[in-house]
């Protein structure tokens, strides 16, 4: 049941990303898994796609769809890719699982003109409540892991991300927040968003 909920969330992510990627663009998906998102982008947005993942055998699905695939470890950087090679680099639900998130973000914006970053907001009020009243590490329907088996080794909030962008001269072009199962684009007060949103999804670019 938990996993169904997570599946639905990732479905929601994908739908939103589909609307954010421009028609016919060159797209690189970092941590693409079986290239499912790229496949959809090809069908619906006619993009030219490349997928990167650490698990080479997962990429086979993408090969069969005519995608270019590259087995690589994001934590080692992506030095094989030249600057500005893509219109759009997607980093969805991956930032919180890498060891070197700053390297990955830098590489994303070096290789692509725009980055699409999506991550779970660890400052959402239900997680805060659990931590504050329950005295236990954050866990929710969207983050159903125990402290010892979570892949999420980088715990960040929406405010943390905004701070990072401000300090590193990254401009947020579009922002979408998943609040109560719905994508909200109205520019709410950031503390409110940080309290309410399960997921933050941003289109970013270098200033």
């Amino acid at each position: 049941m938990t996993s169904q909920y997570v599946d639905r969330l990732s479905r929601t992510d994908r739908d939103m990303i589909l609307t954010l990627v421009p028609e016919g663009s060159r797209v690189l998906d970092l941590g693409c898994g079986d290239c499912g998102l790229l496949r959809e982008l090809i069908d619906k947005k006619n993009i030219r796609g490349t997928g990167v993942d650490i698990d080479g055998m997962q990429l086979v699905e993408g090969l069969a769809d005519g995608l270019d695939v590259f087995q690589g470890d994001l934590d080692e950087g992506l030095a094989d890719f030249p600057d500005d090679a893509f219109d759009c680099v997607i980093l969805n639900q991956t930032l919180q699982v890498v060891k070197n998130p700053l390297l990955v973000l830098n590489e994303m914006l070096r290789i692509g003109r725009y980055g699409i970053v999506g991550f779970p907001n660890f400052a959402q009020w239900q997680l805060r409540r659990r931590l504050f009243f329950g005295g236990r590490a954050p866990k929710s329907r969207a983050l159903p892991f125990e402290w010892y088996d979570t892949p999420n080794i980088r715990v960040l909030s929406i405010k943390d991300f905004f701070d990072y962008c401000r300090l590193n001269r990254i401009r947020i072009v579009h922002r979408r927040h998943l609040i109560c199962g719905r994508w909200v684009r109205s520019p709410l007060w950031s503390s409110a968003v940080n309290m309410l949103a399960h997921i933050g999804l941003y289109v970013v670019t270098r200033k």
Binding site: L59, V60, A64, G66, D68, A79, D80
Partner: protein, 381 residues
């Protein structure tokens, strides 16, 4: 017989370069007439656009799949990859494998009869390069009425030919699969080849390369060359797991120079088995061709070299391959990426070292079948 085998196959020979029109080699010498022995599996489609050329490695030949006779104990060298429903699916593709020139399995090589003298070429055989092998294959491909190959694929030295094809005849190669290969041999790999050649040329039976006919030839030297080669094809990990420090027969040390360790007798066996099926002069010529292969030297720095490429590329490397290390594959992937070309790269986690491309068939099957499927769909082609 395996239900998914291509079954019984008969090699064919194509001859060109007769009389006034010999093959001009990179060295400036000419060679003719030239025989090329090849096999085909599957059927061509109406416009012959489903042809896949398989390029073999140092000790391989044209017999890539199936058997020559129903009683054959062994199948072709890549039988696990080529056949109905296999990685190179012969229900869809017309697969061709030809023997390289310079080899000893039927295509013109140093053991062939020199038309001018009526005797085997021996060391009068001109030096052939990977480029020359590819030029000869091109004649065969033209002869077979193929204007563009759906794919050229090969591992190790076969990968050299794949890369050469894609740069020498870019319009003719729709996709290219390079497995456990490189843009040029590493110094270390040349060094091992040099040891192998030295073992052959220092065997008194080599007789300056004129051993053909009357004597068995430099079998000892060739066996040693193969033993050295074999070590380079395997990983340290695999040798440890397979042989360790195990003794061949007794548990007691014998304190003499017999083959006591299991690895010793294994190498000895591999070496002497090789002499039954390979010609020492061919070994010299082919390893030299490998040493000479150098994309930057022929086509300029990798980034410039691959600017001319038109194929969709797939590069596969193996995590424990130290003869053709992953880093050498990535060099080429980087060059293609920096040119904005279509390229895919997968590094297979395998304990088998360089030999993995002949051993790890299950993973390779999925990768290649997927890639070939995608080539048909890709917008880039």
């Amino acid at each position: 017989m395996d239900r998914n085998s291509v079954g019984r196959v008969t090699p064919a020979t194509f001859t060109f370069g007769d009389g006034d029109d010999p093959l001009t080699l990179e060295s400036g010498h000419t060679l003719g007439p030239v025989d090329i022995v090849y096999e085909t599996y599957g059927e061509p489609n109406a416009d012959r656009s489903n042809a896949i050329l398989i390029c073999h490695a140092l000790s391989g030949d044209h017999h890539a799949a199936g058997v020559h006779d129903v009683h054959d104990r062994y199948t072709g060298w890549w039988d696990g990859m080529i056949g109905p429903g296999k990685g190179f699916d012969t229900r869809r593709y017309w697969v061709i494998c030809s023997n390289i020139i310079g080899g000893c399995k039927g295509s013109t090589g140093p053991a062939s009869i020199n038309a001018e003298t009526g005797r085997p070429y021996g060391l009068d055989f001109p030096m052939v390069t990977i480029g020359d092998m590819v030029t000869a294959q091109k004649k065969l491909v033209d002869h077979l009425g193929i204007s563009r190959l759906y794919c050229v694929a090969g591992g190790s030295m076969g990968g050299f030919q794949v890369l050469e094809w894609s740069l020498r005849y870019p319009q003719m190669v729709r996709s290219a699969i390079s497995i456990a290969s490189a843009a040029r041999l590493s110094t270390q790999a040349i060094a091992f080849n040099a040891v192998g050649r030295s073992a052959i040329t220092r065997d008194p039976e080599w007789q300056g390369g004129r051993y053909n006919g009357n004597s068995p030839g430099p079998e000892k030297g060739l066996a040693i060359a193969r033993m050295v080669g074999h070590i380079t094809y395997l990983s340290e990990l695999l040798l440890d797991a397979k042989f360790g420090r195990r003794l061949q027969s007794a548990n007691r040390l014998r304190y003499n120079f017999s083959n006591e360790f299991a690895i010793e007798s294994y190498l000895e066996y591999k070496g002497s088995a090789f002499t039954k099926r390979f010609d020492a002069n061919s070994y010299l010529y082919i390893t030299k061709a490998m040493d000479y292969f150098d994309i930057p030297r022929s086509y300029g720095p990798l980034k410039e070299a691959f600017a001319r490429a038109r194929a969709r590329y797939l590069f596969v490397s193996y995590s424990t391959d130290w003869l053709f290390p992953t880093a050498q594959t990535r060099e080429m992937v980087r060059a293609l990426l920096s040119n904005g070309k279509s390229v895919s790269f997968i590094d297979i986690d395998s304990p088998y070292g360089h030999d993995a491309f002949l051993v790890e068939e299950e993973k390779l099957t999925r990768i290649i079948a997927g890639f070939l499927e995608g080539v048909g769909k890709g917008a880039a082609s």
